[in-house]
């Protein structure tokens, strides 16, 4: 852990991991330490907003990539070792994955499938219903690492697991993908015109995301951690992420969503501290 005050864009970090790949943004003495994969980025973004900096009674620090523009998302061994070093006496919040439903199922599969709880047209006669237990087994490996990480944070004051934001609607995803040259080129290289692929229905992606949230809540319970779901305020009546919290991409939420999360985290930690 190297104490070097440096900068990545507008973000100042105080500490870096051994190789310099990972950095701590914000106050080293902050009571709350946020870590985790790419969905943690919206909290980092929000924590840098002036209104959050001045308005929050409890300071927050975020452990993320030192070079925000070229590094991949956090998650290697060095990253978690860095988090472990920083965690003593802190309330650690891990934003865990949250994109597994997209990684497997952004596009409608062949044959189409559905599951109990899906309410829209995808649950029609042509779709194969998949047992929820089978869906869980697809996602389970993505939670296995938590069984190593959480026990190693035994010096933390508390540990909270958070999932990613609710899914965005199909129309937004469609335009995001079609506008991104990287995606169209990548699909072309696999012999597919990305415009021909059908995006999985909102209802099915929502239900898959619900399964992920359930699995994370189960992991939290099993490992003695708290669980914090996506804020109800961030979701529309159907359950999707409200447009005001969208980034232009397919999966992530913006700094406004990060602000919501900070509020929820502060509330939860405040309760736990009392």
């Amino acid at each position: 852990m190297a104490k070097i005050k440096s900068q990545s864009g507008n973000y100042v970090h105080e500490l870096k991991s051994k190789s310099g790949k990972w950095a701590l943004y914000g106050d080293v003495d902050a009571q709350i330490l946020i870590c985790g994969q790419s969905h943690a980025a919206c909290i980092l973004e929000a924590s840098n907003l002036p209104e959050v900096k001045t308005g929050s009674a409890i300071a927050i620090s975020v452990c993320y990539s030192a070079d925000l523009y070229t590094a991949g998302p956090p998650g290697d061994r060095e990253y978690w070792d860095f988090v472990i070093e920083l965690s003593r006496g802190k309330h650690v919040v891990i934003v865990w994955n949250g994109n597994q439903h997209n990684a497997n199922f952004i596009f409608q599969t062949e044959p189409k499938f559905t599951m109990l709880g899906v309410t829209d047209d995808s649950c029609n006669q042509e779709s194969v219903p998949i047992p929820r237990a089978m869906i869980r087994d697809i996602f389970k490996p993505s939670f296995e690492e938590l069984s190593e990480i959480i026990p190693s944070l035994s010096n933390a004051a508390s540990i909270t697991l958070m999932n990613g934001p609710a899914p965005k609607p199909l129309t937004h995803i469609q335009s995001s993908i079609l506008q991104e040259k990287y995606f169209t080129d990548m699909a072309n290289s696999l012999g597919v015109d990305i415009g021909d692929l059908v995006i999985t229905s909102d209802s099915l992606r929502l239900e898959l995301w619900n399964v992920l949230a359930g699995l994370l809540a189960d992991s939290a319970q099993k490992l003695g951690a708290n669980f914090l779901g996506a804020p109800a305020l961030s979701r529309d009546a159907f359950g999707m992420l409200l447009p005001e919290y969208w980034t232009p991409d397919v999966t992530h939420a913006n700094s406004k969503y990060g602000e919501l999360l900070i509020e929820e985290i502060v509330k939860l930690i405040g309760k736990a501290s009392n």
């Binding site: 864009g9 994109n99 497997n104 062949e110 089978m134 990548m186 012999g191 397919v250």
Partner: protein, 361 residues
């Protein structure tokens, strides 16, 4: 010169000329089936004992279409499955008795609702007719959704097929005392709880099995009138008997009954052929190596002999012999599924890599 009917019989009618010497598996096939049991454009469905599932890779390797109506998306195909349910056209698994097959079709048609249609065990809702499914339902609502879809897939396969291969496996079964529903396994073995007030052993007779198979074929032909049937008898002996007999005696009884049924039904109904898998493997002419060392499981050599003979002389509907295509429809679907899955994965990864490169920063 004394005349008698044997004088006009061909060589294949004489043991000394067709078994003791000059034995050929092809000579076992009837004149009618010797040309071809399948045509290249057939849609083939199979059901029966585990021996029936051996057929599928051979059919597909020949470039024939094994009809599948209950396929999983490629993302789920690597998950574990028990007892080969998904080996078959729909995920019905092994169907050992003709009664089970008939009842399955009646359920799919909606004319039969079993009294004992589900078991609630340890928070799971188990299908008594597919008790070993690796992923049973977790609620009655999920059970209803999965079961309805399965029965629809059964109907889809049975109604769309042009050839139905059924391998008769057993005469012994366990059934409901309430309504005679036949279970594929004794309750309490793979799943469920055996209850002697509700469950009983049944050893079907020639007459009962002949009636079940005949009724099944007739009922199915009401919806699929041109469907051809190939009936085989599994050469695999019983793993165990519930009778008081020695398992070898029980097995001989069982196979004898099934062989008679196959003969009866193929003589009785049009476009029903008997294929002699049983004789190829178990006849006195069969090499010792056709069974594994347990003398129960058929060896790869034995399976190859049966399948080679079954698929001999493939033709198109125009009667021309064809070469197997390089890629079957199923392979094409599977490849497309994998590509879609790969694109999803790459998009999600790329977005995670770039989460902080968002223009809001």
């Amino acid at each position: 010169m004394i005349n008698n009917p044997y004088l006009v019989q061909p060589d294949r009618a004489f043991w000394s000329r067709s078994v003791s010497r000059n034995f050929s598996v092809d000579s076992l096939l009837s004149e009618a089936s010797q040309s071809s049991l399948f045509q290249k454009d057939d849609l083939i469905v199979s059901a029966g004992s585990c021996f029936a599932s051996n057929l599928i890779p051979w059919i597909e390797n020949e470039g024939l279409e094994y009809l599948r109506t209950e396929e999983l998306p490629s993302q789920f195909k690597d998950l574990p499955e028990n007892l080969g349910y998904r080996n078959f056209s729909a995920a019905y698994g092994n169907i050992y008795t003709a009664r089970h097959l008939r009842q399955l079709y009646e359920q799919a048609l909606g004319v039969r609702v079993p009294a004992e249609d589900r078991w609630h065990i340890d928070g799971m809702v188990i299908d008594p007719f597919r008790p070993g499914l690796a992923y049973p339902a977790e609620s009655d609502a999920e059970f209803d959704l999965l079961k309805a879809s399965h029965l629809k897939a059964v109907l889809g396969a049975f109604h769309k097929a042009t050839v139905f291969v059924f391998t008769l496996g057993l005469t012994e079964a366990w059934q409901s005392k309430v309504d005679g529903s036949v279970f594929p396994a004794c309750p309490g073995t793979i799943s469920g709880i055996f209850d002697e007030d509700k469950h009983e052993f049944k050893n079907f007779s020639v007459e009962e099995i002949t009636e079940d198979l005949t009724k099944f074929i007739e009922l199915l032909r009401e919806s699929n009138p041109r469907l051809r049937f190939i009936i085989t008898v599994s050469p695999v002996p019983l793993v165990a008997t519930a009778t008081k007999s020695h398992v070898l005696l029980a097995s001989t009884y069982s196979k004898s009954v099934l062989r008679v049924v196959a003969e009866n039904v193929s003589n009785l109904l049009k476009d029903v052929s008997y294929f002699p898998a049983f004789e190829i493997i178990t006849g006195p002419q069969a090499p010792f190596e056709y069974f594994e060392s347990d003398r129960r499981n058929v060896s790869e050599i034995g399976v190859a002999e049966v399948m080679g003979s079954l698929l001999k002389g493939l033709t198109t509907s125009e009667g021309k012999k064809t070469n197997p295509p390089v890629e079957t429809k199923q392979m094409t679907r599977s490849k497309a599924g994998k590509i879609i899955s790969e694109i999803s994965r790459r998009i999600a990864r790329a977005e995670c890599d770039e989460a902080m490169m968002d223009k809001n920063l």
